[in-house]
Symmetry: C2
Subunit: 224 residues, 2 copies
């Protein structure tokens, strides 16, 4: 599957395409490790430059800001996830089973490659849980949305909504349910791990398993 992973990401996300050089790829790879380690707020280009033994200047030649870099990473993730969904769904003809598979993929409750293109996928998923909403919860969301930087997320959401409509063509909220399922998958994992009293997970571990069960219960009773 590895060989498939080559997306053309939106031009507005970078100044120089990081896929096309070693240093560019290491910027993306190590920013995943560093954001995972210290969180997006404390993450700076200065720290990243020290980490990969280059300079701030060079990083700024690839990304105009750390916010754009975050959106880049997340876009890559959404593209990747949609690809995994489509790949896995080929084998399945039953719509309900399709959605079950999607929910597993979205909660990241599956044992695929730990590394893809040198990106640590566990860490990337943790970043998605903790930082993804920061990509759009900004004052200039409308401006950057015009640059189509959120289209990978929209595309994934649209794909999921179609599966929902396969199950029940009369369902009124396929897209809202799709976005709710994606976001709830992350949010409830975060709550289960850090604010467990906002969930019903008795277990102090097995966050993904709990969330997956919850999402299935949610999705299938709503769509009916």
């Amino acid at each position: 599957m590895e060989f498939l992973i080559q997306f053309k990401l939106n031009d507005h996300l970078y100044l120089r395409d990081p896929e096309l050089s070693d240093i560019g790829r290491s910027i993306v790879r190590e920013s995943i490790n560093l954001i995972y380690e210290i969180g997006f707020e404390k993450f700076t280009f200065r720290k990243l430059a020290l980490h990969i033994k280059t300079t701030e200047t060079t990083i700024y030649r690839y990304f105009s800001s750390k916010h754009k870099l975050l959106i880049y990473i997340l876009s890559w993730y959404w593209n990747y996830l949609e690809l995994v969904c489509k790949f896995q769904l080929q084998r399945e003809s039953d719509s309900k089973n399709k959605l079950k598979l999607i929910l597993e993929i979205v909660t990241y409750n599956y044992p695929y490659g730990l590394e893809i293109k040198g990106y640590n996928m566990q860490r990337l998923h943790e970043i998605v849980i903790s930082e993804s909403s920061k990509s759009y919860l900004v004052k200039d969301v409308d401006d950057i949305n015009e640059e189509l930087v959120f289209s990978p997320l929209k595309s994934l959401c649209s794909f999921i909504s179609e599966v929902i409509l396969e199950i029940n063509p009369k369902f009124d909220y396929p897209k809202s349910l799709a976005s709710t399922l994606i976001e709830t998958a992350h949010q409830q994992q975060f709550f289960s791990a850090h604010l467990p009293s906002l969930t019903d997970n008795k277990n102090k571990e097995l966050h993904k398993e709990y969330v997956l069960a919850y999402l299935n219960s949610l999705a299938f009773s709503v769509i009916k």
Copy 2:
């Protein structure tokens, strides 16, 4: 109802209680206006100080950081919301109607006072939509959670979960559903306004009305 609004907020949120002085109250009041206007990222104590004609020093004597100030404001909001819920639910004995009322209150689709204690409630609600997740999506969430700064949100969530259990005592996920409903109420309003293709709202306005209808559909089919 005005006279009821007096909460004792968690000591850890402030250095000096802002409720006890004019300058403290204006810090809270004007931070709502300023965060609403420029967003939490661009909001600084320096700008706030200029805005209310005081000094950074003075603001730092009330709040140790802008992040704590955000949690303070949000805690106040959660307390307020739980109070409104309890007040409104007195009149209602049917559990399903109770939940309907809660969903209206949580989406803020009701015409209560525009100002309470000088706080602009419309703006406060917009802040909750755009900024509330930033209060907990931080690396030191576990540390600050130990200071119990998130208890107002937990309390509201717990309250809602009890109403859910009234409707169906056998429902397995009352707390997760409660937190999902609260968070989805905000998230879908944001999506409807800024990333509408993540929702099914055809209308370019009436975000609250759309979200409320969606939440009702969601909640009652899940609880069954």
